[in-house]
């Protein structure tokens, strides 16, 4: 009995290989469609829009980041504050800013910051003296910390 089962093993192995191949061939059209859909999604985007693409998934408008990138010196230290004034993307704003604005250093302590990016945050609660650098309305503000 065991011997007969062993004799069937090569056939069973061939069957498993065939099943693997059928599964692969069956998946191929779906995979090609996924690529087409992704290419359609990215079609017409500029290089900078591609780089900023992750912000779309989290509903974070990157306009303030682009202004901060243009206005802050590369050795600046900054803090990000978010709040109810931001339409969306609360959770993504601090980590994405820390990524996008490198080599500027992000700090969790506003008192150690040279600049503050406010994504709808309440700047007056931070206990630092600030001067407005750029006001983008509901898209946020860039502040310079005084002193």
């Amino acid at each position: 009995m065991v011997e007969r089962l062993r004799d069937l093993t090569p056939a069973a192995a061939a069957l498993l290989a065939a099943v693997a191949f059928v599964a692969a061939v069956g998946e191929l059209p779906h995979s090609l469609r996924v690529t087409d859909a992704k290419l359609a999604e990215y079609d017409g985007l500029s290089h900078i829009e591609r780089e900023l693409y992750p912000t779309r998934g989290f509903g974070l408008n990157p306009t303030l980041l682009l202004r901060a990138d243009a206005l802050m010196p590369e050795d600046a230290v900054f803090h990000v504050v978010t709040g109810p004034g931001l339409l969306a993307g609360h959770a993504a704003a601090p980590p994405f800013s820390a990524y996008w604005l490198l080599p500027r250093r992000a700090t969790r302590d506003p008192r150690r910051a040279d600049y503050i990016l406010s994504f709808g945050g309440q700047i007056e609660t931070l206990d630092v003296e600030v001067a407005l650098v750029e006001d983008l309305g509901e898209l946020g503000q860039l502040w310079r910390v005084r002193g």
Binding site: A13, E51, P54, A98, Y99, R105
Partner: protein, 458 residues
């Protein structure tokens, strides 16, 4: 943009140089034909070796400029050439496919080529990765290495991002890419990740062809490259992407060592598992489980040859040691979603049994769902059973690999601190890659050994 891609081409040339040096040293490449056949293996071996060397260089305080990476690759290549003076040539013979079954192999290879071309199309037109962990800490860590000249412990530096105690191999490799690109934009990285993924497939083809006939090998590789979650992870810049590739390569080389008992395979296994240990905190445990299984296999065999598997077991721990020392010396906090010491606290374990039962209920769906993984895992488990009578050691290695990952996931969900439903929902879609991608790699080997005419059991 064009200069970024030229930079990446230069990086790949450097990785190939390091990898070919290693393969020449092992005797696997001694002719132009060998080099062509093993080009994929050379690239992934160079990728892993430069990743390990770059991680150690960072720990020692070096920056990771393009010339440092080039020097590391040159040193690896030179070491390989020196080794070649003592190690003889070892040509890997490939199993041939006579008769009509050759057309099955051709069809399988065609599917692999079409899918890789499609993934290239996806990578070349991609936007920056949208994976939260990628832009929240993997990529910023890499950029900080480039911008601050190495591992920076100040605010805003390497250790200020999430997972500060995560080992540095992946950021080191991404930083190498940025250094060669002369830019820290994330968009071109997708193409570099595709190159590594394509080399991974080519490496598997050249390695597994030693034991697996083409009519089994290429259809199996076709399934591997079409695994839906595999295609999502390639280009994601997540640690899981690199870790699944390294564990699968380590598993493949370990399986070949089990079957062929040639120490060259053990060296490659040690290299890939060392790199895996330096990629993510999940890496060392899985690498040690594989190394220990190989050592166990060597212990029960006659004649006993323990040195090679013992070195495989030690390699991941030795590679991790400098990093472990560095995080202690720099007081880097152990920030994680779980604490390993909780496993020794019966009170904590009992209190959280509901988490374990929830994870045990949910996880199988993530592991076996065809929409994520086709039929890779059930096919491999069936192949394990089929191959076990003829090749028990191979079946054991494959089963331990999948079992270690699954058990590890259950333990992490059990002792983890985030709400378990959230934890499972946000990680169980990708972490099973550490088991299922290797499972798809073991599959053709298991099928080939199950079909082999009667031979002494191995």
């Amino acid at each position: 943009m064009t200069s970024s891609y030229l930079g990446l081409a230069a990086l790949d040339a450097v990785l190939l140089l390091a990898g070919f040096g290693l393969l020449v040293g092992l005797g696997l490449v001694r002719s132009g034909w060998d080099a062509l056949r093993h080009a994929g293996l050379a690239l992934v071996a160079g990728w892993a070796a430069v990743g390990v060397a770059g991680s150690v260089a960072l720990v020692l305080g070096a920056p990771l400029d393009w010339w440092v990476v080039s020097l590391l690759a040159l040193a690896l290549a030179a070491g390989g050439l020196l080794l070649a003076r003592r190690v003889g040539a070892y040509r890997l013979s490939a199993v041939r496919e006579p008769g009509p079954a050759a057309w099955v192999a051709v069809a399988g290879a065609a599917v692999v080529v079409v899918q890789l071309a499609d993934l290239f199309r996806r990578s070349a037109s991609a936007a920056a990765t949208t994976e939260w962990d990628a832009w929240a800490f993997w990529l910023p860590k890499a950029i900080s290495i480039v911008e601050f000249g190495g591992l920076d412990t100040a605010e805003g530096g390497f250790t200020s991002f999430a997972g500060p105690n995560y080992p540095p191999l992946l950021p080191a490799l991404e930083a190498s890419a940025f250094a060669f690109m002369g830019d820290t934009g994330a968009v071109p990285l997708a193409v570099q990740h595709w190159v590594v993924a394509a080399a991974f497939v080519a490496a598997l083809a050249s390695l597994l062809s030693v034991r697996v006939r083409p009519a089994v090998l290429w259809p199996s590789l076709a399934m591997l490259v079409l695994l839906p979650t595999f295609t999502v992870l390639v280009g994601s810049s997540l640690g899981d992407e690199a870790l699944m590739l390294l564990l699968a390569l380590g598993g493949a080389c370990g399986a070949l060592w089990v079957l062929e008992r040639d120490p060259r395979y053990a060296v490659l296994t040690g290299l890939f598992l060392a790199a895996a240990a330096l990629t993510k905190n999940e890496g060392p445990a899985i690498a040690v489980a594989l190394g220990a299984t190989m050592l166990g296999v060597a212990l029960v065999r006659r004649p006993r040859r323990l040195l090679a598997p013992a070195l495989v077991l030690v390699a991941p721990l030795a590679a991790l040691a400098p990093w472990s020392l560095w995080i202690r010396l720099n007081d880097v906090p152990a920030q994680s979603d779980y604490r390993g010491s909780d496993l020794l606290d019966p009170g904590v374990l009992a209190d959280r049994l509901d988490r374990l039962s929830f994870a045990a209920r949910e996880l199988p769906a993530y592991l076996f769902e065809p929409g994520r993984w086709l039929l890779a895992l059930p096919l491999m488990l069936a192949a394990v059973v089929l191959a076990a009578p003829r090749r028990p050691a191979l079946s054991l290695l494959a089963f331990v690999h999948v079992g270690a990952v699954t058990a590890g996931l259950l333990v992490v969900y059990w002792i983890g601190s985030p709400p378990v439903d959230f934890y499972v929902a946000t990680t169980a879609g990708r972490l099973p890659a550490l088991a299922v991608v290797p499972a798809a790699v073991y599959l053709p080997l298991l099928l080939a050994e199950a079909s082999r005419p009667k031979q002494p059991p191995g």
